[in-house]
């Protein structure tokens, strides 16, 4: 794996950001885009554009084939059984909303429980929260341990006869903990409970095999996977998509519409109402090819080494306090710095071209638990190197110096 060659494929690194070389450590928020993805959007709009799934003219048929080809690429990439188990959405947020809404509508009643964890991003809490009001359900949160991990025991402890869904993150976007999702899925199924996994921080970094994990739902954010914004994916076992009601109504998702009633379309159209993010879907095919070319196993290995290096460097820095100490860490390092607020850190690092995130990272529940208003976070992508980590550390030291003077 030649990182120089990989980095060269990302045009943003050819540009100076505020007169600095960009040290991009905010991929957990959104990743940068390789040239092939940018070009694919440009070329589609320039030479190939038509709406998909409707007209019979040449361009429409070709566009439909391209669009469906991405579905096949995604199916293969995550090893889903059936291409109809891949639903395109406007983001991982919509993917989770789709499940919460349709599953809630059909299966939930007053007093039922949804089990989340304290690590969840707001997008895997707020959609379920609506069901509290509409259906009178309860939401429980499995607690983290001292290392910022979720153990099987903390999940098991919170399961009751009323638990109707377990919805958990694959990888925490703050503590970095990788959850034992296969084991938790096994436990959920033993108790006859379906499980949704928020895969936003998993899919861009870890090898995925839906048939092996056996989860019922898995939500993916494409813009964190070197793909375009405005696109997400819901993987769902076909047995659920067959019986759940449609999420949104509109063109493209119907078979027959009469004044007296409507027959909904077959999968996957049933869940893709209206004109979809066509160019984004087609360009996302290039993101998958890009990942396949390097090999996700290689990416996983490389990032693991790099995040361990980052952890080591920041642990040696006495001013830095790392958030979480998971045995199995994803590509995330959140930290605080000796009495310096995260936003001050981020502003000072930015001056050196070091782009990190500061705030609660859409995890207020977790930050309340940790008793911290905000943290700083560095996160990795396939283009990062040890040099980036060293620059981060240097910038952190500069931050200290400014505040110590």
């Amino acid at each position: 794996m030649n990182i120089d060659n990989i980095k060269k494929q990302f045009p943003i690194f050819n540009y100076k950001i505020k007169n600095n070389d960009l040290v991009y450590l905010d991929s957990a928020n959104s990743s940068q885009k390789p040239q092939v993805v940018v070009d694919r959007i440009y070329n589609f709009y320039t030479k190939e554009f038509a709406n998909v799934g409707r007209s019979v003219h040449y361009l429409a048929v070709a566009a439909t084939n391209l669009y469906e080809n991405t579905r096949l690429l995604v199916q293969k990439y995550i090893n889903a059984k059936d291409p109809n188990e891949i639903v395109f959405t406007k983001g991982a947020t919509e993917a989770i909303n789709l499940v919460a809404n349709t599953f809630g509508q059909k299966f939930l009643k007053e007093g039922d429980e949804i089990l989340l964890t304290e690590l969840e991003h707001h997008s895997n809490y707020v959609p379920w929260h609506y069901l509290r009001k509409i259906k009178g359900i309860k939401i429980k949160f499995a607690e983290i341990n001292a290392d910022g991990e979720i153990t099987i025991e903390s999940i098991e402890k919170n399961i009751t006869l009323k638990t109707k869904m377990i919805a958990i993150t694959h990888v925490s976007n703050v503590t970095g903990a990788i959850l034992p999702i296969k084991e938790i899925t096994k436990l959920a199924h033993k108790k006859n409970i379906p499980i949704l996994i928020d895969g936003c921080q998993g899919a861009p970094h870890l090898k995925l095999d839906m048939q092996d994990i056996d989860c019922d739902f898995y939500a993916i954010s494409c813009h964190k996977m070197y793909g375009p914004t405005g696109l997400g994916i819901l993987y769902s076992k076909k047995k659920w998509l067959d019986i759940l009601p449609p999420y949104q109504g509109g063109g493209g998702m119907i078979k027959e519409v009469k004044k007296e009633g409507i027959i909904f379309g077959d999968l996957p159209n049933k869940y893709e109402a209206g004109t979809m993010a066509t160019a984004q879907v087609i360009a996302f095919g290039e993101s998958i090819k890009f990942l396949n070319q390097i090999g996700i196993e290689n990416i996983e290995k490389y990032e693991k080494k790099l995040i361990m290096y980052g952890e080591e460097v920041l642990r040696k820095n006495n001013s830095v306090e790392l958030i979480g100490n998971p045995k199995n860490r994803g590509s995330v390092l959140a930290f605080t710095l000796d009495g310096i607020h995260a936003h001050d850190i981020a502003t000072i690092l930015d001056e050196d071209g070091v782009a990190i995130r500061a705030g609660h990272h859409c995890c207020q529940i977790l930050h309340d638990k940790l008793g911290l208003p905000a943290t700083a976070r560095a996160s990795l992508g396939v283009y990062n190197t040890k040099d980036d980590i060293d620059k981060l550390n240097m910038s952190i030291n500069k931050c200290k110096k400014i505040f110590d003077r």
């Binding site: 310096i340 607020h341 936003h343 001050d344 001056e351 609660h360 207020q364 208003p373 905000a374 003077r405």
Partner: protein, 156 residues
């Protein structure tokens, strides 16, 4: 404008050791402010006397250097000023922080102006403007006794 100008001596001094950081024994008006995005919190307390003059002002809170320095400098400046002057100053400051290059208030001494202008650097950092303005919006809410908790996400 560069980083040194944003984090200059006076801001770091007030940010690390905020003045008037306490809950006064006697106050007759107060208001809370919150920036949920970064967790900055401020609670402003006022004692306004019968002549509509601010006889005491202090705050409690926590947050980044910019928000704490701003609250510290603001409270130091408002003491002994008339309510009408304070209102005028707030408008003047908010306009300076967002668009104007200068302060226009005639009632400011040179050293007061210098202190306030030290915060003008945030103009170049749009994401940080809310840090500097939170205490000021909260002071407005306290003076008006509006009982509204200021949420920086719904103003500016």
């Amino acid at each position: 404008m560069n980083l040194k100008e944003l984090y200059q001596e006076i801001i770091l001094d007030h940010g690390k050791n905020p003045r008037n950081l306490k809950k006064p024994d006697n106050f007759n008006k107060d208001a809370k402010g919150h920036n949920p995005l970064c967790g900055d919190k401020v609670h402003v307390f006022l004692k306004i006397d019968e002549n509509k003059k601010i006889s005491d002002i202090a705050f409690e809170g926590s947050g980044c250097a910019i928000s704490m320095a701003s609250a510290s400098i603001m409270t130091g400046l408002m003491k002994e000023k008339k309510e009408s002057e304070v209102k005028e100053l707030i408008i003047d400051f908010l306009e300076m922080i967002k668009k104007n290059t200068e302060l226009h208030s005639k009632n400011l001494k040179e050293n007061e102006k210098t202190k306030l202008m030290s915060l003008s650097g945030v103009k170049q950092y749009p994401m940080r403007v809310k840090c500097a303005t939170l205490a000021w919006h909260t002071l407005t809410s306290a003076i008006n006794n509006s009982q509204i908790e200021i949420n920086s996400e719904s103003i500016d």
